[in-house]
Symmetry: C2
Subunit: 212 residues, 2 copies
DNA sequence: CCTACCGATCGGTAGG
DNA sequence: CCTACCGATCGGTAGG
């Protein structure tokens, strides 16, 4: 019985350490990128030695992949929740933008860069699929619905296809994220705005444009 | 005389080698980023040994900085030429987008990432200024003119300030660049479009939006 | 989960 | 412009 308790306790600690590593890896990898962060930096921030990481993950790439999958799943769940709501397309777009702006302390485009350029074929394929499922699919649904309702222009009406629309939308969001200072975003020089205001600017611009 | 000729010859060769290094560094750094490219890779692609680079540039960072300055000056000259033309704002915007799409084989955002995260304070400040002068200033003029003419909405009219406008515009261009395959750009799945078509899509979207 | 250590590669220097 | 080499750091392994 004492053995069983101790064993159970050991497993819980194991799980906890694994969770700590993932959390720390997420903060560092997302902020600085795959290549810029060493396994020793991650270990130190966890209060571990570097070889201890290899008890929990096969190698650096697998650690990155596990972190990215968790992150994408979390974002994906949130986006699906928003997209399912019974509100207007532009309101849901604003909510998506606001969510991405103040939860992802990282840049979406940094993760895409790492997936495309730093990982081997197999891991890349797996994470590309997770990105499609978590981010692209919910947003694609939203833009398709908008076109179906007649709120957004279809390509035949001089608009653009849902897939390209969503990537342009994401790139605008990333632009604000990479110019963020703390909790606020740079707008005009010297003037800072909140995530909610930034989300409104992005959605206003992509929906109605800059022209009069 | 023979000495003078030889000396002159030697200097010319020196300049040529320096030019080769800059050209090779531009292709590699712009495609893969500062950190991903080693000084040995650059030297090898030039047909040199790695220590030979240090005859032409003080260190890796200075090599990157020289390359980036040249690149920004070239882009800046082109953008200024376009902005000065006596054509409509939207036509000039299209020309700017087309120029950026098919001359820069790299991502503008990759250079910004390197400037912000891989270089020390002094180099970063210098290149940030070069970026402002070469890219931001000409585009800011264009957007300001558009607002002055009444073609673009001013912030008071529900539009956004020229500086934010230009960054959003650049992020849309970068989005297409990072999804480029060879000479063409991904649009709808399986359908590829030219730089000219991509430029039109970007400008159409940022000016008039996706809504009907 | 640790100590100790590996081979590879990095940016950069010495000396000619 | 080369050969030879430096110290630092990388991802990862051995062995307990």
């Amino acid at each position: 019985m004492s053995r069983a308790v101790r064993k159970h306790h050991g497993q819980a600690e194991n799980e906890e350490t694994r969770g700590t590593i993932l959390r720390v890896a997420q903060e560092l990898f997302m902020e600085y990128g795959y290549r810029a962060i060493s396994t020793r930096q991650i270990a130190e921030a966890c209060g571990l030695t570097q070889p201890a990481l290899y008890h929990h993950f096969a190698d650096k790439q697998q650690l990155y992949a596990a972190m990215a999958r968790e992150e994408l799943a979390k974002t994906g769940a949130a986006l699906e929740r928003i997209v399912k709501r019974k509100e207007s397309t532009d309101e849901r777009l604003r909510q998506v933008a606001r969510y991405l702006l103040h939860t992802t302390r990282h840049d979406q485009s940094q993760m895409l860069h790492d997936i495309r350029r730093e990982l081997d074929e197999e891991t890349r394929a797996s994470l590309t699929q997770a990105f499609q499922a978590g981010i692209v699919q919910p947003l694609c649904t939203l833009f398709k619905e908008g076109q179906g309702e007649g709120f957004l222009k279809t390509p035949a009406q001089g608009g653009i296809d849902p897939m390209t629309s969503l990537y342009l939308f994401l790139s605008m969001v990333s632009q604000f994220v990479s110019n963020r200072h703390g909790e606020h975003f740079a707008a005009v020089q010297g003037h800072e705005i909140s995530a909610t205001e930034a989300a409104s600017m992005i959605v206003q611009t992509i929906l109605y444009g800059l022209a009069r």
